[in-house]
């Protein structure tokens, strides 16, 4: 069984937003909404300032509260790679999944259903990378099977220091950030 995940090298991300534009184009994300975004963290006082720029999206959690809370069975875990998806025609727009996500990764599509990153499952099923990964000019993003010890993502996690965001919330996020 595959377990898809992403590894993002924060030393390479410059916040150019190419991933954001690629996602909006690939997935027809409506105006005013984002499935992925850039976060900039600044800590300290000049001259001892640290800054981290990173690209963020749904973490396709292994223990996804957004799926557990869905009363309609619309939010679900896809058979392939544990990707968390929404059946639009089952969603009642109750917004429980939005409240359940510690990352605020979801939103209500103007058509009324809950929407979010799909890891571009339609591309992945054809053996391609998600749109954001494929356009990144600094190659800061890696997508692959975390269960396969020979995948690029597994190798990076074996060799570098990493962490996931808000792992203390207990949702087992599957996007890892290299420090």
């Amino acid at each position: 069984m595959a377990r898809f995940g992403m590894v993002i090298d924060t030393k390479k991300c410059v916040g150019c937003m190419d991933c954001v534009v690629a996602c909006k184009t690939e997935n027809n994300v409506p105006e005013g909404f984002n499935r992925d975004w850039i976060t900039t963290d600044v800590k300290g006082t000049f001259p001892t300032v640290k800054m981290q720029i990173r690209t963020e999206r749904c973490n396709h959690c292994d223990n996804p509260p957004c799926v557990d809370c869905c009363p309609c069975g619309a939010s679900h875990v896809h058979d392939l790679g544990g990707v968390v998806l929404v059946h639009h025609d089952k969603c009642s727009g109750c917004k429980a999944c939005i409240a359940a996500c510690p990352y605020d990764a979801r939103f209500i599509h103007p058509d009324g259903y809950a929407d979010k990153c799909t890891f571009c499952i339609h591309r992945v099923e054809q053996g391609m990378d998600p749109a954001c990964v494929s356009v990144c000019p600094t190659h800061c993003m890696y997508f692959g099977d975390l269960d396969d010890p020979n995948s690029s993502v597994s190798k990076l996690l074996n060799s570098r220091k990493y962490r996931a965001l808000i792992s203390e919330a207990g949702t087992k996020p599957q996007i890892y950030y290299l420090d």
Binding site: T39, V42, K95, I98, I108, G112, E168, T171
Partner: protein
């Protein structure tokens, strides 16, 4: 400086999540009120009080049906994909409190209707003669009425607790994420229902009994609010920050003044004096209790949406 800037501006989510408005607060309030009404009327039936001609158990079920329908309409208004609401009823999701709630609501109606048919309301009697037969069937043995009472109590408890668990199951919103919330909303529901029925009861004994009982529920509510706050304060940093929203932050004034002060403490004092015959019963205290219960739901629905986890910027 420790500053986080994000480029995302999704409606209802940024800068702080605000997906739930008055609809959900009203729905949770009415859900709690009807839950309390079912428990009270169920208790009366269990005790055989339906023998009293003016027993409130004859008026509560119909009012419950009307109120609950208003609450469910408010819930429906909140849905963003309204035409797909039926999807809740093509499945049962055991891990989803909302799914439990949707099905509990479906069970609550027949329980209320059964309660109503113990004595068919006069305006239905002529139009639907068949109801008379149902009523006769129910009244064959006192055991059947008692069973309806027990079912109403059980479903009332389930409904009341569910209105709290709906919020408390969201681990992502620290202010809601307290197991006390289910009990707090249930107690508040019974308290507001006692206040409501105390006001409208035609039977003097019942009215007096409910005023006394409500004093107990109000004390219990104060105790639960204290536990709720202690629980948050003794938990993690994000939970402590969440507690501050109602302790000293944006929602503190309305919480302390309208929920605790005017919604619990003052009516408790008034009602305490009234049941000890030092002053006369007036609708003032019960109305304060009911409004306090409504504001409690508003404060928690809104303040809870302000509470969140924070992304730690760097490896420490």
């Amino acid at each position: 400086m420790d500053e986080i800037t994000i480029t995302r501006h999704n409606e209802l989510v940024d800068p702080v999540m605000h997906i739930y408005g008055w609809e959900i607060a009203v729905y949770l309030f009415i859900g709690g009120l009807v839950a309390g009404m079912m428990i009270i009327s169920g208790y009366f039936l269990f005790k055989g009080r339906q023998k009293e001609d003016l027993c409130s158990c004859y008026t509560i079920p119909l009012m419950g049906i009307v109120l609950l329908s208003i609450g469910m309409f408010a819930l429906f208004l909140d849905l963003d994909h309204k035409l797909y609401v039926w999807r809740m009823y093509t499945t049962f999701q055991i891990t989803s409190p909302m799914s439990w709630g949707a099905w509990i609501l479906i069970l609550v109606y027949p329980a209320l209707i059964a309660g109503m048919l113990i004595r068919v309301p006069w305006f239905m009697e002529e139009k639907f003669p068949v109801l008379k037969k149902v009523s006769e069937f129910i009244n064959v043995t006192p055991g059947r009425v008692k069973a309806i009472g027990i079912i109403n109590i059980a479903l009332g408890i389930a409904l009341g607790v569910y209105t709290g668990i709906l919020l408390s199951s969201f681990g992502a919103r620290p202010l809601w994420n307290s197991s006390i919330l289910g009990l707090l909303f249930l107690t508040s529901g019974i308290s507001t229902a006692s206040a409501f029925i105390h006001m409208i009861a035609k039977n003097k004994d019942e009215s007096e009994m409910l005023a006394k009982a409500d004093n107990g529920f109000l004390v219990a509510e104060l105790f639960l609010i204290t536990l709720f706050i202690i629980g948050l304060l003794s938990s993690t940093q994000v939970h402590q920050d969440a507690a501050k929203i109602i302790l000293s932050g944006a929602y503190a004034p309305v919480f302390w003044v309208f929920v605790v002060g005017l919604g619990i403490v003052i009516p408790l004092i008034i009602q305490y004096m009234a049941v000890n015959h030092r002053i006369k019963h007036t609708p003032i205290a019960p109305v304060m209790v009911i409004i306090g219960g409504l504001i409690l739901r508003f404060v928690l629905v809104y303040a809870g949406q302000l509470s969140h986890w924070t992304k730690k910027a760097f490896l420490e």
